[in-house]
Symmetry: C2
Subunit: 124 residues, 2 copies
């Protein structure tokens, strides 16, 4: 089996509580799906640790072969279109044998409409 890790990349905030929301989300995802991955982690684009670079270094050290990266962003703005690909491109040059798949940003999830409705249901 390939060693595949799932990496949630969020913007990062100066507010510790916001970063904690990401940490908790990664933990919730791990509760459901850790059996399917070598590890499930989070990293921040800026303003908070761990950085994307830190995590990818750790992955390489641990023998991870494939990273599935989820951009945890609602819109496909500069962070999604430029900043994440640039950071990944730099790490890809450093570790050419590591496969990195950047999937669609969160806001593009086909199930987003249903997620929103799941939150409002009880207020009908």
């Amino acid at each position: 089996m390939h060693k595949t890790s799932l990496l949630i990349v969020a913007h990062g905030s100066r507010r510790a509580e916001s970063n904690l929301e990401i940490q908790q989300l990664a933990a919730s995802i791990a509760e459901i799906a850790i059996k399917d991955y070598f590890s499930i982690d989070y990293a921040f684009l800026e303003l908070a640790e761990p950085s994307i670079s830190d995590i990818i270094d750790k992955y390489w050290h641990n023998g991870v072969q494939h990273i599935v990266l989820v951009p945890y962003f609602l819109s496909a703005g500069r962070h999604v279109q430029q900043d994440i690909p640039q950071q990944i491109s730099a790490k890809q040059a450093q570790y050419p044998d590591l496969k990195i798949t950047i999937i669609n940003h969160l806001g593009a999830a086909p199930e987003m409409a249903n997620l929103v409705l799941s939150m409002v249901k009880k207020y009908d």
Copy 2:
């Protein structure tokens, strides 16, 4: 039946494409749930139109009695904790008979972990 409208409030962007993502999301939500609401709409906190104030004026004019407002934000930062409540508070003072319910921000959705996993499934 009370006239209840569902209002998705996003940050707003200078990029038209980002604002269009919200417009499309509201349309997708309407496809599923328009039978349950008087209307399903979107508004932006800043940088784009329509504003929250514009939409609430329209609601009042149309006889809407209850607004269920979904903060379309991933973390409970300043926009969620201060800016949206402040704008709503000002409109509430203008229309004291209008009921406005601000629900949890999107990032707090209990189903978020499953939404993320629904996006990565095909990359296992």
